[in-house]
Amino acid sequence: MDIFGIPSQALFGQLLIGLINGSFYALMSLGLAVIFGLLNIINFTHGAQYMMGAFVAYLLLNRAGIGYWPSLLIAPLIVGATGVVIERLMLSKLYKLDHLYGLLLTFGLALIIQGLFRNEFGSSGLPYVIPEELRGAQNLGFMFLPNYRAWVIVVSLVVCLGTWYVIEKTKLGAYLRAATENPSLVQSFGVNVPRMITLTYGFGVALAAFAGVMAAPIYQVSPQMGADLIIVVFAVVVIGGMGSILGAIVTGFGLGIIEGLTKVFYPEASSTVIFIIMAIVLLIRPAGLFGTQK
């Protein structure tokens, strides 16, 4: 069966890869947006923290015998804790300065983390086995759907929508949104804003680490795995605009699919298509698709 002269197997295969990539774009840009909302800092370390998540899962499995399922919880907790330390020790000193210093600091941290991991584990990728329960594939008639990939897409969607629900619909989220608008006023109501900021950073980092654990069985675990991803995610964030949580999710999945389709129809452009879309969006809607220009 052919669609536009492309075998449907190839088309749906690339669509699936696009959806997988989109899941990671969405999880990552969601974390960036949450952190940016409250801290006004673009977390350049996000890619390194994604990589740390994958490595923690790898080490738990190979050094401690702890499998995939506990890792899904433990790895984000550990990496999130390092995020809390980073926020308390360093980022909190920068809130009164130009926001660019936050970018520079987190860039430096990313270099340190990636360098240390490269020293310890080398540059080559390390394999992480798919957990037993998720091996195998479903025959959907028009294509084979590996179970693990379906799991990644579903879980990313659930986590993204869960985060959106907490931030937009719960009391905790209301505090968060209020603190984004006017931190000193919220503090005067007796809310511990500095602690909220610390935990928000920790949560954003934990999201990146969670994405890292999810990615470990699909991509190879390597010190560089986050470095190139974070640049694409930046472009995703520019396209979506950081004003809206739902916007980050929709843009993430959408761009993943577009990237997948480009691989089918014009493979030469598949690595650049997201940047080209970014340029077009900047020309037409500089604030981003879901953003508001401040």
Binding site: L94, L116, I231, F275, L282
Partner: protein, 317 residues
């Protein structure tokens, strides 16, 4: 980043003395230091000065300056090797391409401010990186190797280290003086006004976007000049020049030397290149050390080396 004012004439005279001192040191350096190393320092110093024109005087942090440096280096290498152009024309070709690229990228990037500006330049630079990875003329992973240095104006043989050194020195000093002139021109004053208070500059009737764009194009062109020259010095243009880590390095050099100082980027470039030279055997530790310098500079040392000296002497450098 604020510059404390001593009397302008006094400052000018002092900076002139420092400049002459720098020129003499650079001219005499090959007597004690390996000349190719010094040429590398000067290329990167010019690159950092060009970058500093944006971050230091307009307040725009570009995280993608490697695209101008690297693209120019490819064009200049290609022009010298494949088209057989003389070195001055090859360098000119590289610089012009970087300037044109600067115009396109700048027009897009100045539509957003602050953090977004940094992310946009980074993303566009990554796009250029992928372009260079795939385009046939760049030689992919191999880069363009064995670029002939050729004869300057068809006369002076640049394969001799001395003549190459003099050419690099001339280009560096000319580029440096040009930036100095721009910063101290009425145009430069408007740039600083934009950095300090953009809405005020708008209300005074300045077309802020045009000033930013011109500054961006100048910065891109000068970064291209540095990249083109580097390609001839090392007879090599490669993906390293256009990778995002190169953009990070030039930020680091400028930050370490002192944002918004005239001489800071030169000192920063010299320190970082020296460090890379000594730590080269240690592999990934170079990255770690660079990261640590970043963190220290941001947390405790925001004026940078030259900024601190200038602060102590109460004279802007």
């Amino acid at each position: 980043m604020t510059i404390q004012l001593s009397s302008p004439a006094e400052t000018l005279a002092f900076q002139r003395k420092v400049f002459i001192f720098m020129a003499v040191v650079l001219a005499a350096a090959p007597l004690v230091v390996y000349p190719v190393f010094m040429m590398k320092v000067m290329c990167f110093a010019l690159f950092a000065c060009a970058f500093n024109l944006l971050i230091g005087y307009v307040g725009l942090l570009s995280f993608g300056h490697a695209m101008f440096f690297g693209m120019a280096s490819y064009v200049s290498a290609h022009a010298a090797k494949v088209w057989g152009l003389t070195p001055e024309l090859a360098i000119l070709a590289g610089t012009l391409v970087a300037t044109a690229l600067g115009f396109v990228v700048g027009s897009l990037a100045i539509r957003r401010l602050g953090i977004y500006f940094a992310m946009i330049t980074l993303a566009l630079a990554q796009m250029i990186y992928f372009f260079c990875l795939q385009a046939p003329f760049t030689g992919g992973e191999d880069g363009i190797q064995a670029v002939p240095r050729g004869h300057l104006f068809g006369v002076i043989d640049l394969s001799k280290t001395f003549s190459m050194y003099m050419l690099v020195l001339t280009i560096f000093l000319a580029g440096f003086l040009f930036i100095y002139r721009v910063v101290h021109s009425p145009f430069g004053q408007v740039l600083k006004a934009i950095r300090e208070n953009e809405s005020r500059a708008v209300s005074l009737g300045y077309d802020v976007d045009r000033y930013k764009l011109v500054a961006f194009v100048l910065s891109a062109g000068l970064a291209g000049l540095a990249g083109s020259t580097k390609a001839l010095v090392f007879q090599l243009a490669s993906l390293t020049d256009v990778h995002w880590s190169m953009s990070g390095e030039v930020v680091l050099m400028t930050l370490l030397g002192g944002l918004g100082t005239i001489f800071g980027p030169v000192i920063g470039a010299a320190v970082i290149i020296t460090m890379q030279n000594y730590l080269a055997q240690l592999g990934a530790w170079v990255t770690v050390v660079q990261g640590v310098i970043f963190v220290i500079c941001v947390l405790a040392f925001r004026r940078g080396i030259v900024g601190e000296i200038g602060h102590a002497l109460k004279k802007p450098l």
